[in-house]
């Protein structure tokens, strides 16, 4: 496991039930429609209030039963049948039966136009559901969907009551409208500010790994949004809260010194990287992209800004992700090589220290990515390093709205600071495929600004990863994808992104799910 194991509970402060855990979030949740659970704050709430059909073991990454007690898959991974646990109810009293599960997956698989609900990115090729009996449900796929089983374990597949599913997308912003079957229930919400969760006393269906299966020992969890790092961490250290998300590397030492615990949960996905938008002519040439890759002194970045909890990236995806292939040799810091590549590409060094081609300077821009740890500092450092090879990098800032718009325009932002966490090979498709997150901004995605760039070869590979039925072929394809992306210089992977949390000495038995979302279900607080 990639996080510091919490200190074992001592006999003296025996598990005392009760107490509300004060959790400091960095960002407010936006929308609790489960497929939007990829956004950390959304996922941080959904992980407490919803259950999923399956649980992915955080040690073995195996899929284990949860609401589904068992399942079967046909040979080409187009039909999945699940048997449900009896007696499970949503917090509004409706049973979690085959019909409810089918409605959930119909919505997640196909979306709901009328309600503006988009389909989930983890469910590909979904066709329809079939209710076999009240506790058996079957799903059909148009094409092989080997990733679906893992897809049922992610937060984005949290089961919600049919009443919630009838709400239009807008109303999912209010946490009180989201009814799950999880160990906690939303009691109150102050928009953008705080969410109060209370324990569901009749909860008895937790996953095996988190046994025993009874209700949580906490009385509740109070999630307070404190966007400001200095206040979040300062308040945490000053003893004003029990748990805090998004601890930056520079604060870790302070926290440990203070006697609190750092939890660094791996997110096992696509690494924290800087990716190119080859639609922009400045970075259309692979030589330029590779030059910049080699102009990046990644160890220096890690040494300057991060801590040992941030392992150096050795490929596009994390080392503990499925299908990882070590590409460390292709990711060297070699400014001389970078200079040669740029010269070859026609970008020659002008006397003023900047590279130019036909009078045009090689000046790039990138937006700070607020969710990424120390994005701005990292980019500033990157700019400093690139400056040495004569490339100018401007870090753009501005309102979130401007950022979203700019990031959709390769002419404005030839670079993008990206990261996607999910413990399944499908994650790489989520990141790169045009109709998914489309970090490279290929044609066919949602941006209207892309002129021509599209890479059918890469997209073909991604399609295959998503539909390979044989796990071995799937991993082989995944290896080809990684090699392809790095060879074309689409991405400069920087580090394997952990989710770093701080917990006070009072907090015991803290757990995380497979991609580093906190699970408060087993947690208890020692009496102060």
């Amino acid at each position: 496991m990639a996080f510091h194991a919490p200190a074992p509970a001592r006999a003296t402060d025996a598990a005392s039930p009760g107490g509300t855990l004060l959790y400091l979030e960095k960002q407010p949740h936006k929308n609790l429609y489960p497929p939007a659970g990829g956004f950390y704050p959304n996922g941080g709430i959904l992980a407490q209030i919803t259950d999923r059909l399956t649980w992915q073991n955080t040690d073995t990454l195996k899929i284990e039963p949860w609401i589904a007690t068992g399942w079967s898959v046909n040979a080409d991974s187009t039909v999945f049948t699940f048997t449900l646990r009896p007696g499970v109810t949503f917090s509004d009293g409706t049973p979690v039966d085959a019909a409810a599960v089918a409605l959930n997956y119909d919505t997640f698989g196909k979306g709901n136009r009328a309600l503006h609900l988009p389909p989930s990115e983890v469910i590909n090729n979904y066709e329809r559901s079939e209710v076999i009996d009240p506790l058996t449900v079957r799903f059909y796929f148009s094409k092989p969907s080997p990733g679906f089983l893992q897809g049922t374990s992610v937060i984005g597949s949290g089961l919600v009551s049919p009443a919630s599913l009838r709400r239009p997308l807008d109303e999912w912003g209010d946490a009180r409208h989201v009814i799950g079957s999880g160990p906690f229930v939303v009691r109150d919400e102050v928009p953008g500010k705080s969410v109060d969760l209370v324990t569901r006393p009749d909860y008895a269906w937790g996953p095996e790994q988190l046994a025993p299966q009874g209700p949580s020992r906490l009385a509740g969890v109070r999630i307070i949004v404190v966007p400001e790092d200095s206040i979040r961490i300062g308040a945490f250290i000053a003893g004003q809260a029990d748990f805090a998300r998004a601890v930056e590397a520079y604060d870790e030492e302070q926290i440990i010194r203070h006697g609190d615990t750092i939890y660094a949960a791996s997110t096992r996905g696509v690494n924290n990287s800087v990716v190119f938008r080859p639609d922009n002519p400045l970075v259309a040439d692979p030589r330029v992209r590779l030059a910049l890759l080699h102009a990046t002194d990644r160890p220096d970045i890690l040494r300057t800004l991060y801590s040992p909890n941030y392992p150096l990236a050795r490929s596009v995806i994390a080392a503990d992700a499925q299908g990882f292939v070590d590409h460390a040799a292709d990711l060297t810091y070699d400014p001389a090589l970078a200079g040669r590549l740029l010269d070859e590409a026609g970008w020659t060094m002008a006397p003023d220290g900047w590279r130019r081609r036909n009078g045009v300077a090689l000046a790039l821009a990138v937006h700070e990515a607020l969710p990424q740890p120390q994005s701005r500092s990292m980019l500033v450092l990157l700019a400093q390093q690139w400056r040495r090879v004569g490339v100018r990098l401007t870090i753009l800032s501005g309102s979130p709205a401007m950022t979203v718009l700019d990031n959709l325009n390769p002419a404005v932002t030839p670079l993008f600071h990206a990261e996607v966490g999910r413990a399944d090979p499908d994650v790489i498709k989520s990141a790169f495929y045009p109709t998914n997150r489309n970090v490279l901004l290929q044609k066919g995605g949602q941006s209207r600004h892309v002129e021509h760039f599209v890479d059918p070869e890469l997209n073909g590979l991604l399609d295959q990863v998503a539909s390979d039925t044989d796990p071995a072929t799937r991993l082989a394809d995944l290896a080809r994808v990684q090699a392809d992306i790095l060879a074309k210089g689409y991405s400069i992977p920087i580090f394997e992104e952990p989710q770093v949390y701080a917990g006070s000495a009072r907090v015991h038995d803290m757990r995380f799910e497979a991609v580093g979302r906190p699970v408060f279900y087993r947690t208890w607080l020692a009496r102060p």
């Binding site: 912003g173 000053a238 809260a241």
Partner: protein
């Protein structure tokens, strides 16, 4: 008198309408719109077709004039619309947010008045002329302190270092104390400056000498005579102080992570959440108008000379 009130009210409505229109124009010409921005977020993974459907369903494709008419009509009917960012009715957001800002405003305004009063007393009555001159420079210095900086430092020292008051997990008045007092310092500066210069003008008047010649003590002269005379010019900047408190609230609530109107405004600007921003501008303009109206109404109570002119003016 009624005529006077009616004309003032008409003037106030005109100002409200103007500010509303101005904010609409400002927000309308912004690039993109909130609907687009929200649903283009790659995390949602919507296709362009889906986005344009959604846009149409929000009426974001109508012409600016139609939208203006729609928004104005809706606002006149007392409805503030829905936040595009969160989908919650704006009125609900305002309802949730205003108590925080109100508390912040009360604490900072009260604090500012106390600060200004004690400081002005010191600056006017200090024993030596150089000392008074030096004190006189302090408000200028205080008005140059960036609120956000002061507050960051205050949090670090007062809350984290000395652990006097918590800044997270508190609510109500307790949450308003530290930010309110921090905001009070820059707010008090213009109050002190205006009061001091008004007080100095009053102190240069012959009647102050006459009072001294009757044996009145400086403190008595200050509180019984200079204060009531210097109050009207100080009151006239109330509207300005109100604006400063609101602007201060934007920064303060951002720094302290408070969920008030200032925070709402800053997020609305960031997300181009037109409905929310317009509602907040409307509220602040209404507040400004009401405060100025009140100050005008209070004036004659404080300054009897105005009673006659006003009565004469309305007769």
């Amino acid at each position: 008198m009624t005529r006077y009130i009616l004309s003032r009210a008409a003037q106030a409505l005109l100002v409200l309408w103007g500010a509303f229109t101005l904010s609409f124009v400002l927000l309308q010409v912004m690039p993109g719109d909130a609907v687009l921005i929200k649903f283009q977020d790659p995390e949602l993974g919507l296709s362009p077709q889906q986005i344009s459907d959604i846009r149409a369903s929000y009426g974001a494709d109508e012409s600016a004039f139609v939208q203006y008419a729609h928004v104005l009509g809706r606002t006149l009917a007392g409805q503030l619309g829905y936040s595009i960012e969160t989908g919650v009715p704006v009125s609900r957001m305002l309802h949730a947010a205003y108590p925080t800002t109100l508390r912040l405003a009360v604490v900072s305004f009260g604090g500012a008045i106390m600060l200004a009063a004690s400081f002005a007393t010191a600056a006017l009555l200090a024993p030596l002329r150089p000392l008074r001159a030096a004190l006189r420079l302090v408000p200028g210095l205080a008005s140059g302190i960036p609120v956000f900086w002061l507050e960051i430092v205050a949090i670090q020292l007062v809350s984290f270092h000395w652990k006097l008051v918590p800044v997270v997990g508190v609510s109500g008045w307790a949450a308003a104390v530290l930010p309110g007092l921090a905001l009070a310092i820059p707010i008090s500066a213009p109050l002190t400056q205006v009061f001091l210069s008004a007080a100095e003008r009053v102190m240069a008047q012959p009647f102050i000498d006459v009072l001294r010649a009757r044996g009145a003590s400086p403190l008595r002269i200050l509180y019984a005579h200079v204060l009531p005379n210097a109050l009207p010019p100080t009151l006239t900047i109330s509207g300005l102080v109100f604006g400063e408190i609101l602007a201060g609230a934007v920064v303060t609530e951002t720094v302290f992570g408070l969920d008030g109107l200032g925070q709402l405004a800053q997020q609305a600007v960031a997300n181009q959440d037109v409905a929310v921003l317009q509602a907040i501008i409307l509220i602040s303009v209404a507040g400004f108008v009401v405060i100025n109206f009140t100050v005008d109404a209070l004036h004659p109570l404080i300054d009897p000379r105005i009673r006659r002119t006003q009565a004469g003016g309305a007769a």
